[in-house]
């Protein structure tokens, strides 16, 4: 198996799906000759031409809306938002249209669009190139929201998103793009949307998280297994909306101690719903209060390195939280 970075895995997923199905095409800003500002679409313009890798005018509501129209026709558009922060002009198209199309037409029309967007901080992106935006969409039935935590997942989940008959928001962590590398199958591995993934097994406590923090949690858990004999179960949500309730309940019950981690602001994050699910279903299984480790409730991650650092969750915090919970 070739070793691919997270962004290479994303690129490979798109290439393979475009080779497999003529209905798949890409539209977005600078996705053509430029290959995307992060190079996610590198080489695709050359391979598939300007008609299937479409540089759009600078207008996100049109990118989403035109994609939705094409999806209604039966195409399988992959719409790229240059940064997740810039998906906001397209919220009406995504929430009022994509999410509700099947429902409002009683299954007559559908909207098989994938909307990709780089999210997350730690890359000196400042307030508007660092945000976690998933919670804003995570109350909209009809949508699915996928956030991969590794190259292999990135590929398999993107393939699933493209093939999905419903609209999928696919958020990719821009710091993971080149940081994460691993062996990724060349074959047609499609990872089902809607299922969380246990990435580590352990009896002392459970960490539930998604995206880049899965990587950090794994590092921390492995170190603490060595240094402190703390054994941690880690559940990677993979799909953050709608949540895999059964997997969350099972993972929480397994250890009775739960640490929830997100890079997003704390209040109103994905982890609020995870905590709510656990508190509805596993109250008597818990041996410690649920703990959330999240970004602070400030509008977004600032530019200055001192502030960016202060905003981001770090390994020390994760380890301290794990130890505290294990000792509870």
């Amino acid at each position: 198996m070739p070793v691919l970075s997270y962004i290479q895995a994303i690129n490979a997923a798109m290439r393979e799906e475009m080779e497999r199905d003529e209905k798949v095409f890409i539209l977005g800003e600078d996705v053509g000759k430029r290959g995307g500002v992060f190079l996610a679409t590198e080489g695709l313009y050359e391979q598939f031409g300007a008609d299937r890798v479409i540089d759009t005018p600078l207008a996100e509501s049109a990118i989403a809306g035109v994609g939705i129209g094409a999806a209604m026709y039966g195409m399988k558009p992959i719409a790229e938002m240059q940064f997740a922060d810039f998906i906001l002009p397209a919220v009406n198209q995504i929430v009022s249209e994509a999410a509700k199309l099947r429902y409002r037409s009683n299954n007559d029309w559908s909207c098989p669009i994938t909307i990709r967007a780089p999210y997350g901080g730690g890359v000196h992106g400042a307030l508007y190139h660092s945000q976690s935006i998933e919670a804003l969409f995570a109350n909209q039935p009809g949508l699915k929201i996928v956030i991969p935590s590794s190259p292999r997942d990135a590929k398999g989940l993107l393939k699933a998103a493209i093939r999905d008959p419903d609209p999928v928001l696919y958020f990719e962590h821009k710091k993971a793009y080149r940081l994460l590398k691993e062996e990724v199958p060349e074959n047609d591995e499609v990872i089902p949307i809607g299922q969380a993934n246990q990435v580590r097994d352990g009896d002392d406590l459970t960490v539930i998280t998604y995206g880049l923090p899965v990587h950090y949690a794994l590092e921390a858990a492995n170190q603490l297994a060595d240094s402190d004999q703390i054994e941690t179960t880690i559940l990677d949500l993979r799909t953050v909306y709608p949540l895999d309730q059964a997997a969350i309940i099972k993972a929480a019950q397994k250890t009775g101690k739960v640490l929830l981690i997100t890079e997003d602001n704390k209040e109103g994050s994905i982890m609020s719903e995870v905590a709510a699910i656990i508190s509805e279903h596993c109250l008597f299984d818990l041996d410690a209060p649920i703990k959330r480790l999240a970004g602070p409730d400030v509008p977004a991650m600032p530019f200055a390195p001192t502030l960016e650092k202060e905003f981001l969750i770090n390994q020390d915090q994760i380890k301290a939280a794990i130890k505290e919970l294990a000792a509870f």
Binding site: S61, A62, G65, Y103, D108, P165
Partner: protein
């Protein structure tokens, strides 16, 4: 004055157009009665716009073109094949309503079979959708085109601008028709726009734009026909503005006396496209008063039957609430 035979329309064609206009008007009138009798909760009217609507639909290839009509377009959907019965099922919110199975309000059309894109309430979102259909047609060498309508107030939404621009840059087979009825609820044209004509917006997209008398279905037919030919031959989108007047309050929830005088409305009624066209047909010996009475009679019967059927048809079952959120 322009004659229908110069446009290649037979006497049968224009009689059929007239019949559909009458049908649209009478359906709308019946809905108001039903609303005032407390039998249906809501009406939003086509009155004053039927002539342009039916004429525009006739200028399309109704066997293959796609349409994204807005909520007043009863004339459009009737011309495309929706029936009085189906519209009454929608008005009564019954399970058999083909548009949404009673999920949406009247005026929210949609039919995969008739290639009518499912519409929502937020205005103007349909413009990018139609552009997406145009894009898909172009990509698939499908000679179908996309026709989309909206009100003049709605042209002030960002989605109008973004959609029109996208269509023009990519030379897509799209017709955007603005039904300018002088009001957006209570707000008159001069508080919505400061340009002389809505069609003045076309030059800013690099597409042809015309303004025509919406009360004269023949000039509307001609304009849409030209735009359809242009679209089908690969010459890109067009903007058409049709001028008429909204003869009813905005909807059954509106009180128009707060913002316009009954004199103004009465004056507009004299120019009503339905009357204008009837006169034209009589003067040109296509229609007689007898034939008109016969048409009215048939239409009334059709609506009576439709109403009776719809009124007694079952509502959607409560359990159906949960279906069609995602592909099942």
């Amino acid at each position: 004055m322009l004659k229908h035979d110069e446009l290649g329309l037979s006497n049968d064609n224009v009689l059929e157009m007239y019949r559909l206009m009458v049908l649209a008007r009478r359906i709308d009138e019946r809905m108001w009665l039903l609303n005032r009798a407390g039998k249906i909760p809501f009406v939003v009217s086509c009155q004053g716009q039927e002539a342009q609507q039916v004429a525009a639909a006739f200028a399309l290839d109704r066997s293959k073109d796609y349409t994204a009509p807005y909520y007043r377009d009863v004339g459009v959907v009737l011309a495309l094949g929706m029936t009085a019965k189906e519209l009454m099922l929608q008005a009564f919110a019954k399970a058999e309503d083909p548009n949404s199975a009673g999920r949406q309000m009247p005026g929210h059309f949609g039919s995969q079979k008739l290639r009518i894109l499912s519409g929502s309430s937020p205005v103007t979102t349909q413009v990018p959708h139609a552009v997406g259909i145009g894009l898909a047609c172009k990509m698939n060498q499908d000679s179908s085109i996309a026709y989309v309508t909206l009100g003049e107030g709605s042209t002030n939404q960002g989605d109008f601008h973004e959609g029109a621009n996208f269509a023009a840059v990519h030379k897509l087979p799209v017709i955007i028709m603005v039904e300018n009825n002088q009001y957006a609820i209570s707000v008159p044209l001069n508080r919505q726009v400061a340009c002389e004509k809505i069609s003045d917006r076309a030059i800013g997209y690099g597409m042809p734009g015309v303004t025509v008398d919406g009360n004269n279905p023949l000039v509307v037919y001609q304009a849409v026909k030209e735009a359809a030919d242009r679209a089908r031959s690969g010459n890109g989108p067009s903007l058409i503005e049709t001028i008429s007047y909204r003869l009813t309050p905005h909807s059954s929830d509106d009180n128009e006396r707060t913002y316009r005088s009954s004199e103004e409305v009465e004056q507009a009624k004299e120019k009503d496209g339905l009357i204008v066209f009837k006169q034209y047909l009589i003067e040109n010996n296509v229609l007689t008063e007898d034939l008109d009475a016969e048409i009215e009679k048939q239409v009334k019967e059709e609506i009576d039957q439709a109403t009776d059927y719809a009124e007694t048809a079952p509502y959607p079952s409560p359990e159906s609430l949960y279906h069609g959120v995602y592909y099942e």
